[in-house]
């Protein structure tokens, strides 16, 4: 029946709309202006089993939807909430007559779960990236332990304890509580008291994380700031073939367990922390070996020899080197009447290999000290040793200087074996070259040498140096050698200078000359005849003589 086309149209549209709503794959509720449910489509009926047309919305739908309906206006954002085990997004639109509101419910459970999972993954990735860069930045075990404890406490649990393998009787530990403050300590502990700890500390065979009943926690286990321990898990920190330690995650009383995801994630973190800690451990071991071996090769500390002031400086060539082919050694006289011996030399070559040979030469010369009255004999014997050394086909240039106090002056007996000539700085600023020519050592079967004697008056100095000074390449134009001439000119300004100042002055000039470029090794020794009796009487550290 069609009484009017308009009405027909309206009826027809309404009917079409109603059937469309019924057929919609989403739950749909029509709610009238009076707050009662108008239409419930089958999908909605399946979801909201009690919903019937005519009942108040409050009886048909969950509270969050009722609230959303009461607050609905144009432009309201979709509401969100759970229905049963799933969650829904509720979109509203006005019905045809403007007073009805149509609620479309969209199941967003999976999307939300995916979003949540993605967020968790992103957070974990961020955390692992941060953990990696923090852990990789340091090769210091102590710092790695602190970083591990803090990151674990802040991201994986409420508190965390890192236990490193024992060094002697004690185990180094790092504990970080909920306040983020890391405490480092050394504890005498029995790993057997904490189930899983002994295995984790052994590192091999690999053991899974171990759940511990908090009630069995040993008394030594720190838990500051945590109150009651609610959950506890022990994870091994895997190292590079050596155990790096164990990580104990501690949960507060509000937590009764760690989820499986958290535990898997903790293992990912533990792998990184373990790698960093074992790298730091290996580095520390290597560094300590290197240091022990190098100690013998480092130049000696300068002390006062009888009747002479000494100063020395040493700088290896490469920026990463500590030792090189230049060396010096100081041998005090056996008795007050005897001579002290100074040696300064340069093994051909650079770096570790050259340094090892300097060690041999210094030892050989030490053994030859009783013969030091005869420089030629000493050099000859050293020459024989080097010629017979198949391991090192290298040669050395050096200067021997025997020192003896004569009255207020200092007498130096010097022999030069193919080395740059020592320079004397006189009290009036004259600079003299010590002319003593000899062959270098370790090449020819027969060596030649010539010993000369010079006398230093009080305040005068003698500079022994290696060619790293004069062959420093650079200058304002970049390609000139520093050269003996410039060195002598500089020393003319150094009359009366304390030895240490002279050493530093020459070092500075040479390094200024080369600019930013590191070049050859450089060794310097300055011997100065003390000025006046005062100097030998007052050691420099005695109580004040300064009164008058």
């Amino acid at each position: 029946m069609r009484s009017s086309p308009e009405r027909h149209d309206h009826q027809g549209t309404a009917t079409t709309a109603a059937s469309m709503i019924d057929a919609a794959p989403y739950p749909v509720l029509l709610v009238g202006a009076d707050g009662t449910v108008g239409r419930v489509n089958p999908a909605a009926r399946l979801l909201l089993r009690s919903a019937e047309p005519g009942m108040p919305l409050a009886d048909a739908a969950p509270g969050w939807l009722v609230e959303a309906h009461l607050g609905y206006g144009d432009g309201s954002p979709p509401a969100r909430g759970p229905i049963g085990a799933r969650t829904f997004e509720a979109h509203a639109s006005r019905g045809d007559d403007g007073s009805e509101v149509v609620w479309w419910l969209v199941d967003d459970t999976d999307r939300r779960l995916a979003v949540d999972a993605l967020r968790v993954q992103q957070e974990r990735t961020d955390f692992l990236a941060e953990a990696s860069s923090r852990l990789l930045s340091s090769l210091n075990l102590d710092r790695c332990m602190r970083v591990t404890a803090r990151l674990a406490a802040q991201n994986l649990a409420e508190a965390a304890l890192v236990i490193a393998p024992s060094t002697g009787r004690k185990h180094p530990i790092a504990y970080c509580g909920p306040d983020g403050v890391v405490v480092r300590d050394e504890l005498v502990i029995d790993p057997a008291e904490l189930p899983g700890l002994a295995e984790a500390l052994q590192g091999f065979p690999p053991v899974p994380s171990r759940w511990i009943d908090p009630a069995t926690a040993p008394a030594w286990l720190p838990s500051a700031g945590l109150g009651q321990i609610g959950a506890m898990v022990v994870t091994a920190l895997p190292g590079h073939g050596i155990p790096a330690g164990a990580l104990v995650l501690l949960g507060g009383s509000a937590r009764s367990s760690f989820s499986e995801g958290e535990e898997v994630f903790a293992r990912l973190f533990a792998a990184r922390a373990g790698a960093a800690m074992s790298a730091a451990r290996l580095y520390a071991e290597q560094a300590s070996i290197t240091q022990t071996l190098m100690r013998e090769l480092l130049p000696p500390r300068v002390s006062r020899l009888e009747g002479a002031e000494l100063a020395a400086g040493y700088r290896p060539g490469g920026p990463a080197e500590r030792i090189g082919g230049d060396f010096y050694d100081l041998h005090p006289a056996a008795d007050a009447a005897g001579e002290s011996l100074i040696v300064l030399g340069d093994v051909c070559g650079k770096g570790l290999e050259a340094a090892v040979l300097t060690g041999k030469i210094r030892n050989t010369l030490r053994a030859l000290l009783p013969l030091a009255d005869d420089h030629h004999l000493v050099l000859n014997l050293l020459n024989g040793v080097l010629l017979n050394d198949d391991a090192h086909a290298r040669f050395v240039t050096l200067v021997l200087a025997s020192l003896r106090r004569v009255g207020g002056s200092l007498e130096l007996r010097m022999t030069n074996a193919g080395h740059p000539s020592p320079l004397i700085v006189r009290a009036d600023g004259r600079v003299e070259t010590v002319e003593s020519k000899g062959t270098l050592i370790g090449v020819l079967d027969q060596i030649k040498s010539q010993t000369v004697t010079v006398v230093l008056a009080p305040g005068e100095s003698c500079l022994l140096y290696t060619d790293g000074v004069t062959e420093a390449k650079g200058g304002p134009l970049g390609d000139e050698l520093y050269g003996e001439e410039r060195l002598c000119a500089a020393l003319e300004q150094c009359a009366g200078m304390p030895g240490q100042a002279m050493v530093e002055h020459v070092q500075m000039l040479a390094s200024q000359w080369t600019g930013h470029v590191h070049q050859d090794d450089m060794a310097l020794v300055v011997v100065t005849a003390p000025r006046g009796a005062h100097l030998s009487a007052v050691g420099g550290h005695g109580p004040g003589r300064f009164t008058a």
Binding site: S137, L141, R143, P319, A320, P476, G478, S511
Partner: protein, 368 residues
């Protein structure tokens, strides 16, 4: 000599005057005796180190700038001051105060920096205040410092630089130290009187002086951030001007010196090695100013050089042709040209203003 009595300027000043006299004479043992006497007279050890020895060292720099000390004499005085500090460090009264309970600090000078005394003064002050200090000395190569940090894991590393031309090296050192997770405190004239280069190079802290450094350490330095990329610090380096100038420095110097000789054939002084050294310094400062993108750094250096030249009886305007020749060679580099013209204007203003040095030598150290 008699023990100075306290004057109006405070307890330390008379001692500083007295110490200056013996240091000036080059009398090492008298200087040590005097410092120990000052200590025994009741002067506080920190005041002795900073307000007596530190003050004497500042005066050494000023006297050198005023041409009243040679470089060699400056070195002598510095070595004596260093020896005095060494003697004090062994004094039982001071050793007992060095408990090291506050934590561990590494103190080092940037590679290429041989002015070690400021770092030495800081070392002793920090020891007195209760820090365990590893003093690594002058010219510490970056790799040495880093391996020291790995081995010892200090709470903080303090890096000292006096010469602004060490700033590029300092930048590398700061970032390398931070990459180990160690906070970096910097100090020294190189970082600017206002510390602006410390901020530019992203140091974790800047100390005006040793007392300031001790206060900052006591308050605790924030750790370095790990997400920062060194390349982001100085975006202006993308124009390559620094790289080009630094790399071609020897050639720039050679060409500039040759140009000076050609332009002023009657001036034998331009052929002297000092001219090449002076030009090399100018180029080095120019490169540094390009690195940190800072006009005052270069302008002040030129004004300072002008002042030094005036003190040594050389008119400041001799710098103008050198700046001009450099400008011609660097015509394609807008930032370099800007720096050179700012420096030239600075000299001209100084000459017109009747102050031939531009800025009279008033400071103690090279400008920063």
């Amino acid at each position: 000599m008699s023990a100075p009595s306290p004057g109006l300027k405070g307890l330390a000043d008379p001692w500083a005057d007295a110490l200056w006299r013996v240091v000036r004479e080059g009398s090492e043992f008298d200087a040590v005796d005097m410092a120990l006497s000052a200590l025994e007279s009741g002067l506080d050890a920190e005041d002795l180190i900073l307000d007596v020895i530190g003050a004497v060292q500042a005066r050494v720099g000023a006297e050198w700038a005023a041409n009243r000390l040679t470089v060699a004499q400056e070195h002598t005085a510095t070595a004596i001051n260093d020896r005095v500090i060494g003697a004090l460090a062994h004094h039982p009264g001071l050793r007992s105060r060095s408990t090291g309970h506050l934590g561990r600090v590494a103190v080092a000078c940037v590679d290429g920096e041989w002015h070690a005394l400021p770092a030495r003064l800081l070392t002793e002050v920090l020891r007195l205040r209760g820090w365990q200090v590893d003093y690594l000395g002058a010219q510490v190569p970056g790799p040495h410092l880093i391996s020291h940090l790995h081995r010892t894991g200090p709470d903080v590393v303090a890096v000292s630089a006096s010469l602004p031309t060490r700033l590029p090296t300092a930048h590398a050192t700061i970032s390398a130290c931070q990459a180990t997770g160690t906070p970096v405190l910097v100090g020294g004239a190189a970082f600017g009187a206002d510390g602006r280069f410390a901020r530019l190079l992203r140091a974790d802290g800047w100390a005006r002086d040793a007392r300031d450094a001790a206060a900052l350490l006591a308050a605790g330095l924030p750790g370095p951030s790990l997400d920062h990329q060194i390349a982001d610090d100085l975006p202006h380096l993308a124009d390559q001007e620094y790289t080009m100038v630094a790399r071609s420095a020897p050639r720039l110097v050679r060409e500039t010196v040759a140009g000076l000789i050609e332009r002023f054939p009657g001036q034998p002084s331009f052929a002297s090695p000092h001219t090449a050294e002076d030009v090399a310094h100018i180029v080095e400062y120019l490169a540094t100013a390009l690195y940190v993108d800072d006009t005052p750094l270069f302008r002040d250096f030129i004004a300072w050089t002008a002042g030094i030249l005036e003190v040594r009886g050389v008119p400041a305007r001799v710098l103008l042709p050198a700046l001009e020749l450099l400008g011609e060679r660097l015509a394609d580099f807008p930032r370099a040209c800007g720096l050179l013209s700012a420096a030239r204007d600075g000299i001209l203003t100084g000459i017109r203003g009747g102050d031939p040095a531009g800025l009279r030598v008033s400071g103690l150290e090279e400008p920063a």
